[in-house]
């Protein structure tokens, strides 16, 4: 009883998550509690298990142990509350489909088997496209889009889901400066409207500017919390293993 109400206040609650493959431990005993309404970055060196963490949370990657709860309930029951934005590079962009089609895919979870996207879903998709500035490109074949445009489409697809939690894997990788700014503004807007955002991020320099929470990860969770408290040299050193000095440009 006591546990339930305490834990359900967290948007995302990960307990004892452990993943190992190919005889190597990749994620160990991860405890991660993310409160509602934060814009959080997950950082760590290459091979730290950041993508794996995301995939394990979403049930895409098999885990050896651990539980994942969304607002106090098991993840499998709460899929509709979570929107995933995978890494751009995992997809074949020569696939025959348009930007509009990709965004419409975001409505499939809500539709369930056998139903087709109706006017309502199409309008939602168009609105999402507008939001990310891709409406003029809606009928463009995705292979003709630039890296930044592709990333926007992925974001639009997630927006359509109307979820409470967004989980994104390196959304700023390989993206032009304008797109980066556009995306982070959308994310901040989402945060202001009460959404929770978990973002795997590769660029330490921009963290204080973009995010309000951070989680340091390197196979184990090193630290998590508000930027002011957690984003410091000590944690950086623990995570990256060297004397990392970060000047925070205000």
């Amino acid at each position: 009883m006591f546990e339930m109400t305490d834990e359900s206040k967290y948007a995302l609650n990960v307990h004892d998550l452990t993943v190992a493959y190919d005889f190597k431990p990749v994620l160990w005993d991860i405890h991660l509690q993310v409160p509602e309404g934060v814009l959080m970055a997950i950082v760590g060196p290459n091979g730290a298990g950041k993508s794996t963490l995301i995939k394990a949370i979403l049930g895409i990657q098999k885990k050896i142990a651990g539980t994942v709860e969304i607002f106090g309930k098991p993840y499998e029951k709460m899929r509709k509350e979570v929107a995933y934005v995978p890494q751009k590079g995992t997809v074949d962009w020569d696939f025959p489909t348009t930007a509009f089609d990709v965004v419409k895919m975001g409505t499939y979870g809500e539709l369930g088997w056998f139903r087709r996207p109706s006017k309502k879903q199409k309008i939602a998709a168009l609105e999402a496209l507008e939001k990310v500035g891709m409406l003029p490109f809606k009928n463009r074949q995705i292979s003709q889009l630039s890296g930044g445009q592709q990333q926007r489409i992925f974001l639009a697809r997630a927006l359509v889901q109307n979820a409470s939690i967004y989980i994104m894997d390196e959304p700023f990788q390989g993206v032009d400066a304008t797109t980066e700014i556009a995306i982070i503004n959308i994310l901040k807007e989402l945060r202001s409207s009460g959404k929770t955002l978990v973002v795997v991020h590769h660029d330490l320099q921009t963290i204080p500017e973009y995010f309000d929470w951070v989680t340091f990860l390197n196979v184990k969770k090193i630290a998590t919390g508000p930027i002011k408290e957690i984003f410091n040299d000590e944690n950086l050193a623990k995570t990256y293993g060297i004397n990392y000095k970060v000047t925070i440009n205000k």
């Binding site: 004892d16 190992a20 005889f23 050896i64 142990a65 390197n218």
Partner: protein
Amino acid sequence: MILPQFEIQIVASLVAIACAIIGVFLVLRKMSLISDAISHSILLGIVLGFFITHDLNSPVLILFAALVGVLTVVLVEFIQKTKLVKEDTAIGLVFPALFSIGIILISTNASDIHLDIDAVLLGELAFAPFDRFIVMDYDLGPKSVWIMGGILLIIVVSLFLFYKELKVTTFDPGLSAVLGISPILIHYGLMSISSITIVGAFDAVGAILVVAFIIVPASTAYLITDNLRKMLIYSVAFGVISAILGYWLAFILDASIAGAMTAVLGLIFILVYLIAPKHGFLSNLSLQKRQAKEVKMLTLLLHLNSLNDGIENEEREIKHLYRHFRWTKKQANSILKFAEENGMIEIDKELIFLTNKGKEFSAKAIDYIITNRDDKIEGMKNEFMLFRG
């Protein structure tokens, strides 16, 4: 054993060795299926050569066949460059096209001459001893022996001359450019020699067996080692063994020699697949089970490690295991037993405590996990699969 039987096995062994060597490089370069493609499309070359010479035994046929083999590679790469379709789609389009043209040419123009398509595809080793190489009234043995022998000689010489280049371009193409070795030259050299080998071999053993001899022994070897030299040796060994055993299998069953040799190749592959020490399927299975157990145990230990000493925390309760780790009762019991057996924990009234050994172990494990440095777990590697990496 009578002479023809002996000769058949010699021919087969020569084919096996030649194909095994080429196969190693094709498999490592992920180009195995180009051998399948070439082995089918060279039919066209044979047909064209036949139209020109009207002589089934003319070496022109082999020449044309080899040329078509290289043409196949060129066409496939041309299509791949256009990026209109994916790599393997290109292969799947080119060889049936060339093969079909070959068949159509045969049916329309040469139906009076029996160009036995089945023999072409399936080969007939049984006839090898009868086709002899006669020079000035001296019977020098089956023609196939000379042809395959010649090809094998070319292969071995090329292997010696270009071993370094082949190795670098196969394992580290980027480096090869830096070293001034042209990967393209090596690539086309390999393709040409493969083409010639396939042509020479399939006269004796047919298209399918050539593909089998190229891909299967090399793949089997790859299951055992990733050292190039060893792989070549194993590959050749598997090829020759299959050739000889296969022959006798066909003899006993009175069935197709090519089929029998392929079946033996497959059998050896499956055996190695199942039981190979490091990468075999069965050993993987048992290792995985053991690994899963160890990982769970380590999870438990690390969890305990993070709790404060001596405090009777509800997190120490055995019941906690079910709830938080989502382990079943059976799983939890087996892990607890495992941990106890290894002296890592003590159980006192439903609460679990770390022993000193357990604490030490956890500390070292954490160190290793964070820093990824092998020296942290030196002592533990032998006991625990988990850290063997």
